[in-house]
Amino acid sequence: MGTKIATRNAYGQAIAELGDRYPEIICFDADLAGATMSKYFKDKHPDRFFDMGIAEADMQVVAAGAATCGFKPFTHTFAMFASGRSWEQVRNSIAYPGINVKVIGSHGGLSVGEDGATHQCNEDFALMRVIPGMTVVCPCDAYEMKLATEALVNLDGPAYMRLGRLAVETVTDAIPGYRFELGKGATLKDGSDVTVIATGLMVQMALEAEKMLAAEGLSVRVIDMHTIKPLDEELVLKAARETGAIVTSEEHNILGGLGAAVAECVSENCPVPVIRHGVNDQFGRSGKAPLVLEAYGLTPAVLAEKVRRAVSLKK
């Protein structure tokens, strides 16, 4: 616990190691191997790594073709291009036929930092989530990423996973009883007054916000929702019933992502206040990653404010 490592690095090392045990894993990248960290796989398994050039659309469907011949392809590019540029290829040539391709989108969210709005993808959860049959995953730290990567290798079907650029603290390895299962959220901290359901690097911020609020006497449950689809509805509804208010937190537009998924589930089954914390339907901007996050309110302090508001809305 405590070490800081970007989930993209953890992923790169994990997939390279898994390549030893799973000869059917092949990796594709679109000229970003040094950034998505597929370079680790490239170095270890050069005969099963294919650089498709700056041609994301082609890459996704080439991977689909290879998958029909029994391989387990992982494709790599930035989240923006995986979920945006090649969305229709992922929909029609991977998800619709149910082909076993894992679409990896690195550099998700505002924490891309200096590159600015064109490369800060705050829409990938929404875009991937609306495709029938897609599994959508966003691990929060290096430990969880390693487990998620192996889980994806063993999932037979299409999936999208977001990686982050920014080094983040590893927290899940120190949580007693923590275990990773696709489609099952992990309760990192129990609480009874309100629940924060977070994904990606907002999980660490949620844990910080919980400490701040505990000092005020609020008992906050913190759920790490690494799998955005299929959503762990059972865990969400249990939180709604037991704590009576929910705040979602994600490095993503508040439209269409985790917050929307949770709100849809709660409003249909167990209506309680749901406050969505995330990017308020805006484009990002350039700057050092922590400063960009701060500029858009993605901080423990702003999250804590959302939690207080949710509690105030409880009946």
């Binding site: 092949i26 005969d47 099963r48 294919f50 498709m52 050039g53 041609a55 659309a57 082609d58 996704q60 469907v61 080439v62 991977a63 689909a64 073709g65 290879a66 998958a67 029909t68 011949c69 029994g70 391989f71 392809p73 229709e88 290829q89 029609n92 040539s93 619709y96 036929p97 149910g98």
Partner: protein
Amino acid sequence: MNNRELALTAAKARREAVSMVYRAQSGHPGGSLSCLDVLTALYFEEMNVDPACPSDPQRDRFVMSKGHCSPAVYSTLALRGFFPVEDLALFRSIEGHISGHVEMRHVPGVDMSTGSLGQGISAAVGMALAGKIRGDAFRVYAILGDGEIEEGQVWEALAAAAKYKLDNLCAIIDVNGLQIDGKTADVMPMEPIDDKCEAFGAHVVTINGHDFDDIRSAFAEARYTKGQPTVILARTTKGKGVSYMENSAGWHGKAPNAAEYETAMQELGALIDELSKEEA
């Protein structure tokens, strides 16, 4: 098969294809008819496939990149024995799973779902690449439309096929000169297609796509070509075999009415009779 047998099979496939579109009152007859001689030669002579074992890992693969030409694919697969010809009656129907564009999950013998143009050729590249990784001997074939090659992804795929020296890949471009809005030359000029494909690293062969000797020798040339993919430019007639559909962009995606259907059946029936008589 000899040329007459191939021509007879293609004529039967054309009759099924037009019937499918007529019954559904929906579908794409023009481009289906133009590519059916090439498709017949693939499934009845060139490709190593076995209807009794449609998922044999060592089979040759086929991708209909212009996935709207599903009547051609489905009728060919049915005649080849992958599923009963009667099932073609469910084309585009809510009663069945023979969907509007080529679909792999429910139709035996289909290697890749297609429909969104420009993507099938990438899938074929992926299959050929898979064959290379494992050292398998199977070959991969894809048919593209000449309108389809306006999609940029086609050229991304060709570049990748050349990079990885996919000589187990043979792409056939069905050059019938027409697309939905009119002549390809007017909508978006792509000629010289042969020079473009060569510049992207492919070995290019131009043939008459309705001449079985031409088709056969082009496939052989593709097999003997090493170190690069082959692109066959099959010059064809859109709507081939039905007089009023020939060379008419209007028949790209339109179903015949009862009288038109009758005419089509008479024309194709006469051809089938003639080719059958030669047999006797």
